[in-house]
Structure formats: C-alpha cells, structure tokens
Symmetry: C2
Subunit: 226 residues, 2 copies
DNA sequence: AAATCGATTATTGTCAACAAAGCAGCAGTT
DNA sequence: AACTGCTGCTTTGTTGACAATAATCGATTT
C-alpha cells in the first residue's frame, strides 16, 4: 500500500513531455510534418506510447492530424494569436477574481516574494527578456492555481499557456515592458491582498490587454514575424 | 488528389466517440472504475485504439488515470459544476461579443429561425425538458462557432460542453425555465443582429448566470443530487 | 485475533509484426 | 506536351503477444 503517490512516469508520459517541449521550444517548427518513426528514433520511443502522446497533443490543439496522411505541428496565425490573448484576458480575469477570494495569506506572501525576486532578476540582467518571460509565466501560473478552480487552472495551464509560450520563445519583449509589467503585477497582487476581487479582475484584464497590444504593435512594425 | 475530405473514421476515432457518448449519457457512471478489456469487448475494439481514445479523454479531463491502476470517469462535485458555469459565463460572454462582430447576416437569420423552431418544440412538448436542453445546446453551439475564434470554439465545444452535458442529462430543467431561457436567447440574438457586441456579451453572461443560479437552487432544494 | 509480509493473479504498459491506405514516379494514351 | 491510370513504396493504423506493476488473498507471526 503505497501512500506517497509520486508521479509514475510511463513511456507515454515521457513521449508527451518530449513532444510538448519540442513543440514549445520550436524544435519542431509550426506547419512541419512529422513522421512517427522519425520521432521514435529521435526520442528513443516505440510507436505505441508515441501515438498515445500524439493523441493527447492533438486533443489539446498543438498537433493537427489527417488520417493516414500524418501529423503536423499547428500553425497559428497572427490573428489567432491575438484571439488567444482575448481568451486569456477573460479567463485570467476570472482567475484573478477567484484568487482574491480564495488564496491563503501565505500564498499571497509567497507571490509578493516572487515579485521581489523578479524585480531583482530584471535589474541584474537588463535586456535579458527571457527571465522576465519566465517570471511572468510563474506569476500567471500562481494566480491560476490560486483560483482553486480546477477546470479553469487546467484550461489555462494545460491548454492556453503552452500555445502562448510557443510564441513567446521567438518574441523579444520590448525594452521598457518588463518594468511596466512588473508594476502591473504588483498592483494585481495588492488587489488580491486586499481581497478586492473585482479590482483584481479589472487589473488583470488590463494587464493582458496591454501585453496583447504590445505584441500587436510589434507585429505591425515588422519586429515580430509570424 | 482527393478534394472532398470526408471524415475518415479510424478505430481510435470510433473508440473516442463511443467512450465520450457513454460518459456523457451516464452509461459509465462518474467514479466508476473501468477496465480496458471490459471496454474492448463492449465496444468491439482492440486495446491500441482504445488506449489512444483514453489518452485523449484524459487530456480533456473526462477521465482520470492512475498509472497501472486503471482509469475512472471523473466525478465532478456540485461546487465544481458551479465553477464550470463561472467559466462558461466569461467565455461565452466573449463568444457572444465576437459573434456580434463577425457572424454573417445569413447565419444570424438561421439562428433566429432555430429559435422559432425551439419555441414550437417547447409549446408542442410541454414539460419535455429534453428538447429544450438540446435546443439550448444548439443555440450555444452556433454562437461559439459564430465567434470565428477557433481556439475559443474548440475549448467551449470540445471541453466545457461535454462536461456540462454530462450533468444536464440528469437534471430536469425546472418548469418555468424553458420559456424564460428562450426569451433570453431572443434578446441575445437581437443584440447580435444589431451588431451590439457589448450588449450581447452582457446578456449572455446574465443568461448563463441565471442558469447557474437555477441549478444551484435545485441542488439546495434537494431536487438535484450530485 | 489482528496485522504484516509474501506469493499469486489480474490488469495495465510496452513492443514488434502485420494490414491498409496514401503518395510518388513512371508509362501509356490522348 | 499534358493528363490519366497503374505500380511500387513509404507511412500510418491495427493487432496480438509479452513484460511489468499493483491489487488481492492467504499464511505466518506477534
């Protein structure tokens, strides 16, 4: 009778992780057609577990399958990326509201501590937008789980974030934005600490809206190509 | 070069459909532990495709798997069902707003026509809440696709609705609600026809909120047990 | 008598061979 | 010269057998 249910990794889980990170990191380019046995040799897997993983990823919308004709990585257009941000706006707004109602005091304290860490990271590594991106991810991750809304967290963490991160990897956050974003994060946490759900929702929506407009501008300026 | 890509059904697709409908219809009860080979004999499948389907359904949150210990249908608590409705509220609000901006005139006309059909169904089969439930599903389905937001539609149609429908099957919509719901539907479509996205969003959110409170009340009254 | 440890059994995870379907190249015809 | 139909090949879909793991039941010990 094992009490400690530490995650038992099956080959299928392994395959899932390998594929997912490869897609997110851009090692498998969007639109690229991928062969099964090619992936098998690449990740040291057999086709059974791999196919299970492909099924899961297809269900999550990261892969597109055409029966008997192969699987390819989903290609998201600029317009679709913008729509992803619209979805994030509403869903994370809800998450922030629920987080304000449900996060424990210690969780909020932790969140504030991570923001301090993020600030230091930004100061130390100026221009190293990567850290900010990871920090940003961390922040939103905590709010999603803090909402205590199982399905909401699942949809945000399991579906949306992977698609967003997939495009995060190739976009350099514009110079001034990290500091601005951090300020916005602070105000959201303040609202949560004051248990002001409505305000937290409003601020979160505005925050993501700003991020969306930022990317939109970069695309229009030709800085970011999709 | 085949032009007409009619859906090619593989065994895995078949397995997926079988399992999904069985879960939604309650033939596989929530919490019930299901064995693979039992399902194989039941649906005339082999384990390969079945496992692929299980992987997909697990990824969608309808099944819960514990490695080496089997798969069971997810059991959603009353509280979680309420949170599902909170998610629907925000997401379908967004869908209604985008639908107001993007649906074609003929799509809107079609939508109005289906509402007329629903009204007739309700009048003819009084108390037959089933038709209303299906009609309701149809309505929300059209709005979701009408948003032209691929990911949003995918999340609503592929994830949330199946979970909601799973619990719809066992709840009898209270007597007065079908007519009220139809009225709400009409006002939403009106807003869409007038291309008033904000209003459509507001009305849709209120509509789903009302549905949620209706179920909440039924649960409290003991009419509906989960 | 209760509890724990161990062997058995049933079930899941994995693999490799088989069948089927699409794709590409070639040849023949129009 | 372009197009259509055939043939062979590659890739995917499927199957059944094999290996590994957890649950169950029984025996032994405290």
């Amino acid at each position: 009778m094992r009490e400690n249910h530490l995650p038992v990794y099956t080959r299928a889980d392994e395959a899932f992780d390998c594929l997912q990170t490869a897609i997110v990191k851009g090692e498998l380019a969007p639109g690229e057609k991928i062969g099964e046995l090619e992936l098998c040799t690449r990740f040291n897997l057999t086709r059974g577990p791999l196919r299970e993983a492909i099924g899961r990823l297809e269900s999550r919308g990261l892969l597109v399958r055409r029966p008997h004709a192969g699987v390819k990585v989903v290609a998201v257009s600029a317009a679709e990326l913008m729509e992803l941000y619209l979805i994030r706006e509403t869903m994370e707004g809800l998450a922030a509201r629920q987080a304000a109602e449900r996060m424990t005091d210690s969780e909020i304290a932790d969140l504030q501590a991570t923001l301090d860490a993020h600030e230091q990271m930004i100061d130390e590594a100026q221009g190293q937008a990567y850290y900010q991106a990871e920090g940003d991810y961390d922040f939103h991750h905590r709010i999603a789980t803090g909402s205590r809304n199982t399905k909401l967290a699942q949809m945000l963490l399991g579906d949306l974030y992977y698609m967003v991160r997939m495009y995060r990897y190739r976009l350099s956050t514009s110079a001034g934005r990290p500091h601005r974003a951090l300020g916005e994060h602070r105000r959201i946490v303040e609202a949560i600490a004051q248990r002001d759900g409505e305000l937290a929702e409003f601020l979160m929506k505005r925050h993501i809206n700003a991020a969306r407009r930022n990317i939109e501008k970069q695309i229009q300026d030709g800085v970011l190509t999709i």
